[in-house]
Point group: C2
Chain length 292, copies 2
C-alpha cells in the first residue's frame, strides 16, 4: 500500500475546501496562538480568535471521518495580567458547530520556558483538546500502554481477598480468567496527563513540538494507511512523524518557507526509504509524493 503525502501552500480555510468529505482519520494541529507569531501568521487578536477559527473548524468537521478525532493543541495567553478566555469561548462555539468535546488532555512541559514574574509562575502546561464528530470513534488504547509501577511486583505475588471479591461480583463467568489477567500484566493504560519535555530544537524555526506528542496521538487514534491532517503544519513535525509511521499525510501552511522545508524533508525521508529498498515492487509501490 502506498503512503501519500499531500502538501498545500495557502490559507487553511480555502485549501481545506479541496479535501473530500469524511476523508481524514486524525487531525493534529497547533494553530497560531492569539496575538503570537506576528511575523509569520500576522497574529490574530484574542477578541477575534474564535471568529477566525470557526470557519476552519467547520471545514475540519466536514473532512473528518465519523470515526475520526481532532486534537487541538492550544493555550491561552496572558493579556493584561489575566488569562484570555478565547479558548473557553472556542470550546463553547465549536460545540454549537456540531463538535463533541470528548476530553481535555494536559501536556505537562517538563522544561518550560524560564522566566520570573511578580504575579505568576512559569507556565508549564498546555491544553490538548479532543473533539469528535461522533460519540463512537476509533481508539487503539493498547498502542500507548505504559510500564506499570513498581508496586505491581510485590502486589502480583499474592492477590488480596478483596480483589477476588471485587472480581467475583461478576457471578460465574470467567472467575479464574481475571486472576491470570493480573498475573501477566506489566503494562497499564495511561491517563489524560502527558509528561513530555519540549524539544530543544536545533532547527531554524520556532515550533517547539516534541515528536512524541503527535506520535502518541497518531498511535492512539489511527492505524497504518490511515490519513493524518495538519492544517497548520508549520515546521511539519506532525506530518513527518505520521509519514514515518506509515500514515498518509496532508499538510497546509501559508508560509512558503515552511512549505518548502517540509516538502524537502519529506522527500529526503522518502528518498532514503527508496534507496533502502531492494525489490522492484516495493520501489514501485512506496514513496510516492504528491506535492501540489
Amino acid at each position: 500500500m502506498e503512503i501519500l503525502t499531500t502538501l498545500y501552500l495557502g490559507d487553511s480555510k480555502e485549501k481545506l475546501k479541496m479535501l473530500s468529505d469524511n476523508s481524514v482519520d486524525l487531525i493534529v494541529t497547533s494553530p497560531p496562538y492569539a496575538d503570537q507569531r506576528k511575523n509569520t501568521y500576522g497574529g490574530i487578536h484574542p477578541d477575534q480568535y474564535v471568529e477566525w477559527f470557526l470557519p476552519i473548524s467547520k471545514q475540519l468537521l466536514r473532512v473528518l471521518k465519523p470515526t475520526g478525532t481532532f486534537i487541538l493543541n492550544i493555550k491561552e495567553k496572558v493579556v493584561d495580567g489575566e488569562r484570555s478566555t478565547y479558548v473557553m469561548e472556542l470550546i463553547l462555539a465549536m460545540r454549537k458547530q456540531g463538535w463533541y468535546w470528548t476530553e481535555e488532555f494536559i501536556w505537562h512541559k517538563k522544561n518550560s520556558y524560564p522566566g520570573k514574574w511578580p504575579n505568576r509562575f512559569r507556565d508549564s502546561w498546555e491544553r490538548l483538546l479532543q473533539f469528535n464528530k461522533d460519540k463512537k470513534f476509533n481508539m487503539y488504547q493498547e498502542e500507548v500502554m505504559v510500564p506499570i509501577g513498581d508496586w505491581a511486583k510485590k502486589r502480583l505475588k499474592n492477590l488480596s481477598e478483596t480483589d477476588k471479591k471485587r472480581d467475583n461480583s461478576k457471578v460465574g463467568s470467567g472467575f479464574g480468567k481475571n486472576i491470570s489477567n493480573w498475573l501477566e500484566r506489566d503494562k497499564a493504560y495511561p491517563t489524560n496527563v502527558l509528561h513530555l519535555a519540549t524539544e530543544c530544537n536545533n532547527k531554524n524555526h520556532s515550533a517547539a513540538f516534541p515528536e512524541e506528542l503527535p506520535a502518541w496521538f497518531i498511535k492512539l487514534f489511527t492505524k497504518e494507511n490511515d490519513t493524518v491532517l495538519d492544517p497548520f503544519m508549520g515546521s511539519g513535525t506532525t506530518l513527518i512523524v505520521a509519514n514515518r509511521m506509515r500514515r498518509n499525510t496532508i499538510g497546509i501552511d501559508n508560509v512558503p518557507e515552511y512549505y518548502d522545508m517540509v516538502r524537502t524533508q519529506i522527500q529526503q525521508v522518502e528518498l532514503y526509504l527508496l534507496e533502502s529498498k531492494t525489490e522492484y515492487e516495493k520501489t514501485k509501490s512506496e514513496g510516492r509524493i504528491s506535492v501540489r
Copy 2:
C-alpha cells in the same frame, strides 16, 4: 497575636452575608462538583451549576480584600460521553461579575481512580482556578520555592511536615552569607503544575484533597495572622491546615456532621497547643476559639 477560628453551620450564600467587606486574604475551596443525581446527594445539575454558584461568588468577591486571592478547585464531569462545559461557562460568568481570572493551576493526581473505558483514559487532573479582585495582589513566591534536582519531589511531599515543625532555620540567622547564598541557589520557583497524590485513608473520614494542596496556596498567598476562608469546608482540610499555620480561619458548611467534626478537630489542636505551653502569657494569648 491571637488566632481566630470561626465556623458557620448553614448555607454559604446566606452565611457569607455575615462577613465584612474586604476582610479575607485567601479563599481556598472545593465546592461540590456538579452531579446529575439530584435526589441522592442533593447535587447540582450541570445545567444549573453556574446559576447556583454565581450568588456565592458574588459574596466572595465582596468579602475578599483587594490584595486577596480566590482559589477554586473544580473539575467537570463526563456527561453522555463528553466533558460538561459548566466550568468554562462559570469562568466567563465570573469575569462578567468582576473577577479577574489570573491563572489556572493544574493539580496532577498521580493516583487517579482506576478504570477502563473504550473511549477515554483515567482522569488524573483537576483545575485550580485562581481569581483575583484586583490585578495587584499579595504573592509570597519565596515561600513555596522547591529544591532543584531529583529531591524536589520528595521535598514537596514533606512540605506539610515542615510546617508542623514551624521551621526555625530561617529565623535563627546564624548562617554566614556564603552559605545562605549557596542554599538559595539550590532552590527554584515552582510552575503552575502541582504533583500531589490524593490521600486515600484518613482516620475517620475521607479528605477531599491532600493537606499539601491548601498548604501550598496558604503559604503562597498569605502570611501569619491573615485570614483564610473556605465556604465549603467539608471535612475541613483547608481550615485545619490554615489554623496550624497560624492563619485566622472561617469555615462554612451546611452539613451538621462536618460542622461538628471540624469544630472538634480544631479544638483538639488548640488544646494540644495549650497543653504544650509553659508560659502564662502564651496560654493567654493563643488558642482562642470562636465557634458560632
